[in-house]
């Protein structure tokens, strides 16, 4: 469960980063992509801010949902594995009654 929790935390961090940059108004800084940097912003700053925003945006649109889904897949997969192991584990198998044949045994 630690891995799934880490994935969820990472997804939350990506969303929070994107939300923060959006709130700071950095969406307009991606205009640097079309060669027309946001007014009043030095070009180096505009390029760095624009690139950071683009990464954060794709982190939120692609990364966060994938991490969230992966956490769910991991949790479900882990549960299924544990269930499967418990089904085949000799420690957890029901004790056989002496003298009774198993379901798969011949019993003869």
């Amino acid at each position: 469960m630690k891995t799934e929790a880490t994935m969820l935390a990472a997804a939350g961090a990506l969303l929070a980063l994107y939300g923060a940059l959006e709130a700071l108004g950095l969406r307009d800084w991606v205009s640097v992509l079309s060669g027309t940097p946001a007014p009043g912003v030095p070009i180096e700053q505009a390029m760095a801010g624009g690139a950071l925003y683009v990464l954060a945006y794709f982190g939120a649109v692609l990364g966060a949902p994938i991490l969230t889904l992966a956490a769910a897949v991991g949790a479900v997969g882990g549960w299924l594995l544990r269930r499967a192991r418990s089904a085949v584990s000799p420690l957890s198998a029901p004790a056989r009654q002496p003298g009774r044949a198993s379901r798969h045994g011949s019993g003869a």
């Binding site: 891995t3 969406r27 307009d28 991606v30 205009s31 079309s34 692609l62 889904l69 992966a70 897949v73």
Partner: protein
């Protein structure tokens, strides 16, 4: 690999396989016909609002001119074409649109008169003289002629008759003097983009005046088919010397518009060029579409026309923008939808107060998109030039 790491990796792969093919669903509303109509209306309001706010418009144009003076000019052309289409589709909008179109025309002609055509050209236009004795750029003449012709097609006004006639005569003379019936955009540099715009301008003008330049228009196509086709793709090259020697191969930022413009001259050739461009430059994956700037084998550096190019998939912002126009013009609904999904994903729309603009774009990019979203009425009303069989033959040198 440790088991927890392997499990995490497996979970990430499964999650990616689940999510990536479905991301487009977030943008399907915007990419479908209704969403596109909403985008069109909001873009139209944004562009008109820009015209009505000179300070804001000057600031936006100054930013674009800082990167490329051509964009200032092309933004005017695509805006005028979009406004004319809008007014043709909605006659009740004519009263609002015509003054806006006239304002753009008046200012553009004033700037050209006062500062020369170089005002709308990149700096290297002045590096050496044009080969044609007129010393003029068909990039400027062609787009001004197309704006004037479109305006006159919408509602003929005698005050624009002479400027249109002079401009068309200028272009016709330049084309006739060109060894391959083409005119220069820059010294000894002809562009398919500009020449096909000029052909469309002549055709729209003919629809207004009743003149007939079909021979010249078909002559250009015949010459282009013989001299300006890249043999590996069948696509028109993007630029060439005045004598027809290719300078570049086919480019996405040129060919989609050229194919659209050619529908007013030779619709079959225009459609064939679109289909080849779609085949060699178009791509669609997981509901998203884009266009490359160069077909395989013509790889070049990202430049002012291609815009930024996304590595690995070679998605070009400039080519993809023009592909939206091509896909709309040739009614390629599947790719139109995919391209608009990409636009909604990666162009960073900013919606406020009923208007929309794209943060990753600029005024010319938004104007191209608006034209793509309004495309149809003008070209449908004008129709192609009379067929070759009735067109006067032009002697090709």
């Amino acid at each position: 690999m440790a088991k927890p790491a392997l499990r995490a990796l497996t979970a990430l792969v499964v999650a990616s396989l689940l999510w990536v093919p479905n991301v487009h669903r977030l943008f399907d509303d915007r990419a479908g016909p209704e969403g596109r109509a909403e985008t069109r209306d909001a873009l139209l309001e944004a562009q008109l609002a820009l015209l009505e706010d000179p300070a804001l418009r000057d600031a936006r144009l100054a930013r674009m001119r800082g990167a490329n003076a051509e964009w200032d000019f092309m933004g005017r052309t695509f805006l005028v074409l979009a406004l004319v289409n809008h007014a043709l589709a909605r006659p009740e909008a004519r009263a609002r649109v015509l003054p806006a179109v006239d304002e753009v025309l008046e200012e553009t002609l004033r700037l050209e008169r006062e500062r020369g055509q170089a005002h709308f050209l990149m700096a290297y236009a002045g590096a050496r003289p044009f080969l044609d004795p007129s010393g003029r750029s068909v990039f400027v003449d062609g787009e001004i002629a197309l704006m004037l012709a479109a305006r006159q097609h919408l509602a003929r006004d005698p005050r624009w008759d002479a400027p249109l006639a002079e401009r068309v005569a200028q272009i016709e003379a330049q084309l006739q003097r060109g060894p391959v019936l083409s005119a220069e955009s820059y010294p000894d540099e002809c562009w398919t983009f500009c020449n096909t715009v000029a052909l469309a301008a002549i055709r729209v003008s003919d629809s207004v005046t009743g003149d007939d330049h079909a021979g010249l228009l078909h002559g250009w196509v015949e010459t282009a088919q013989q001299r300006l086709i890249d043999p590996s793709t069948g696509l028109l090259v993007s630029s060439y010397r005045l004598d027809g020697t290719p300078l570049d191969g086919p480019e996405g930022s040129s060919i989609f518009l050229a194919a659209h413009m050619l529908t007013l001259v030779d619709p079959a050739f225009g459609r064939a060029q679109y289909q080849l461009a779609r085949e060699h430059l178009g791509a669609s994956v997981a509901g998203f579409g884009w266009a490359r700037e160069w077909p395989a084998g013509w790889q070049g550096p990202a430049d002012i026309d291609s815009g930024p190019v996304v590595p690995l998939v070679d998605a070009s912002a400039g080519a993809s923008g023009m592909a939206i126009l091509g896909a709309a013009a040739f009614e390629d609904e599947a790719w139109t939808r995919a391209l608009h999904a990409s636009l909604a994903l990666a162009a960073f729309p900013v919606e406020e107060g009923g208007v929309i603009r794209y943060a990753a774009s600029n005024q010319v990019g938004d104007a191209v998109l608006l034209y793509a979203l309004t495309e149809g009425p003008l070209f449908d009303a004008v129709g192609p030039a009379p067929s070759r069989s009735v067109a006067m033959r032009v002697e090709v040198r």
